[in-house]
């Protein structure tokens, strides 16, 4: 597909999303709008995790570490002066004196994660396979421990609160669109071809002149930027959170979305987010019990988790590379055709 067609496709896709965002709150209730916001945030996080984990084949368990950093950094930056005085009285002067609006706070959060990813990735991206998974898990643990102990900045294990609730549907959907466009442009470019080559066969990649570490590190770093952005979105959606909000449970939730959707395509990441979120919400509502008049399903608390687990197992048995595998639809396909 030509450059012009790809451009038109992008414009159309953005217009459709903008239209949906505009009319959705009129069509459905507040609960569904909130679910859609969470899906957009998860989309940012899972798609950016797929960049490293799926496209370069470096299966990191540390993504949520960057999400946590993003949430705390942007949270500290956007806390009002009054909130800083009451919740974080020991914050250094240069930090307690500033309050940034949502957008710059989010971008700074992403950039802090970029710097952190370069520092952490330089040694870790030399590892492959299980080693890099365990090592990045170590990064997640370190972030968690630092957050708990940096009491002056984070209130430690106590809830960090007072973050303005600014993540509207528009912000979340807007950042999702930005994330998908950026990732698609990079993945389906010569740079993305280096990522895939490194994933497929490190030795073959080196034999055609591709340097493994820079390829992995650039994907890890770009992924970390959007992890930081997503963390800021999530923080400004929740308003209050603690280090425990960004730890193992959240890591595995995001990974299951990525793996179920298919981690070798951006579409797969998004499909995984929608499938897992919708299934969880539907099952969670079902387990409260149903009354059809003639017969009733009694409440079965906890059953949703079991059903969800079984569905995960079935998908992995019948579609081991996820629902989408390495296929893209819509925008991704237009960008992929005959480009670069």
């Amino acid at each position: 597909m030509s450059r012009a067609a790809a451009f038109v496709a992008t414009i159309v896709a953005v217009a459709v999303v903008a239209g949906l965002v505009a009319i959705l709150p009129q069509l459905v209730n507040d609960y569904i709008v909130r679910v859609v916001i969470v899906m957009c945030i998860s989309g940012v996080l899972v798609a950016s995790m797929g960049l490293g984990n799926g496209f370069t084949g470096v299966f990191s368990l540390g993504h949520v570490g960057f999400v946590a950093v993003g949430a705390y950094v942007s949270g500290i930056l956007s806390l009002s002066q009054a909130a800083k005085h009451s919740y974080l009285p020991d914050l250094p002067g240069w930090l307690s004196g500033i309050t940034l609006p949502f957008l710059p706070a989010t971008i700074v959060a992403g950039l802090v994660c970029v710097v952190l990813a370069l520092v952490v990735g330089a040694p870790l991206m030399r590892l492959s396979g299980y080693f890099v998974s365990v090592a990045t898990l170590g990064f997640l643990i370190i972030v968690n421990v630092v957050l708990i102990n940096a009491v002056d900045f984070t209130r430690g294990a106590r809830t960090f609160t007072g973050v303005p609730l600014e993540t509207t549907l528009r912000w979340a959907a807007g950042w999702l669109v930005v994330t998908v466009i950026v990732l698609a442009r990079v993945v389906y470019s010569p740079t993305g071809r280096r990522y895939l080559s490194v994933r497929e066969d490190v030795i073959a990649a080196r034999a055609v002149g591709i340097k493994v570490l820079p390829a992995r590190l650039s994907a890890f770093t770009l992924g970390a930027f959007f992890a930081g952005v997503g963390g800021s979105l999530y923080g400004h959606y929740l308003g209050s959170f603690s280090p425990a909000s960004f730890y193992m449970a959240y890591t595995f939730a995001l990974i299951s979305m990525l793996v179920i959707g298919g981690m070798q395509s951006i579409s797969g990441a998004l499909v995984g987010v929608v499938v897992v979120t919708v299934l969880s919400e539907v099952l969670r509502n079902l387990e409260r019990g149903l009354d059809f008049g003639a017969f009733a399903i009694p409440p079965l608390y906890g059953a949703s988790q079991i059903v969800l687990g079984i569905i995960f197992i079935l998908i992995m048995i019948f579609r081991p590379s996820g629902i989408m595998g390495d296929r893209e639809f819509g925008l991704g396909r237009f960008v992929k055709r005959k480009r670069a």
Partner: protein
């Protein structure tokens, strides 16, 4: 960069005293070879004679314990594999190493884009550099796919190709990096005599059309004797003989060590 070697008379590749040991096993011992531009040189020897170690050391996949490798006037024995490719040595592997899940054309593009670099910001911003690089990469890819008759299979996953086509794909992928020296590790392994004949013609054509020097490791004696202008014989990591195909066939020591009859 010294290009003195490119005039067709100088030395393109030279190893001196090249030694590589794995614990107590000396895989390559005081190896020496000189390859000139546009030459086709064969390296033969029984299994374990050091042929693959020689390839790996020259192409930067293994570090030598001693000795030097000079390519186009530059010492490369400490250089990373990717940098050596950039300098102009490309290789294939025994039994092929393709990017299996990628299509045939993507395999070639991954190599061709080496000479037309573009980065993440080019991709993000859609710079003129990105589009120029894409056009150049596509042009090389189309030309090379056509060279080996894989144009119709451009969109096929590499893993779905027949074995002979996989070998041809790996060959043009190496060529797509625009090497001055091409090192082929058993290009005809597992091929029947018709296919071997085709590979022989292809290697010659590649040398004539692209002006590259070629080193071939191969067990197929017909291929080696018909293709190479010069042959080096290795045994136990050492060079035991070097000469024209006729000289190699006539040498009693070579016959004893390698051809298996005195």
């Amino acid at each position: 960069m010294s290009i003195a070697a490119s005039d067709g008379t100088g030395t393109l590749l030279e190893t001196r005293g090249l030694t590589k040991a794995f614990r107590s096993l000396v895989a390559l011992k005081n190896h020496e070879i000189i390859v000139r531009p546009r030459e086709i040189v064969g390296v033969i020897g029984p299994n374990g004679s050091g042929k693959s170690t020689f390839f790996n050391v020259v192409t930067g996949f293994q570090r030598p314990n001693a000795g030097s490798v000079t390519f186009a006037g530059e010492p490369i024995e400490r250089m990373a594999a990717a940098d050596i490719v950039r300098l102009g040595i490309a290789r294939t592997f025994q039994g092929t190493r393709l990017l299996k899940a990628l299509t045939v054309e993507e395999n070639v593009r991954a190599a061709a884009q080496l000479r037309h670099p573009s980065g993440m910001f080019d991709a993000l911003l859609g710079t003129p550099r990105l589009h120029a690089a894409a056009r150049a990469t596509d042009a090389i890819t189309d030309e090379l796919l056509d060279l080996v008759g894989l144009t119709a299979r451009a969109g096929t996953r590499a893993s779905e190709l027949a074995y002979g086509d996989q070998r041809r794909l790996e060959l043009i992928r190496a060529l797509a990096t625009r090497p001055r020296l091409l090192m082929l590790d058993e290009p005809a392994a597992g091929m029947d005599s018709t296919e071997t004949r085709g590979i022989l013609d292809l290697i010659r054509l590649i040398r004539d059309r692209y002006g590259v020097a070629i080193i071939v490791v191969e067990h197929d004696m017909d291929l080696i004797m018909n293709l190479c202008e010069r042959i080096q014989v290795l045994a136990y990591g050492e060079r035991i003989f070097e000469g024209t195909p006729a000289e190699v066939q006539a040498n009693p020591q070579v016959r004893e060590v390698y051809l298996g009859h005195a």
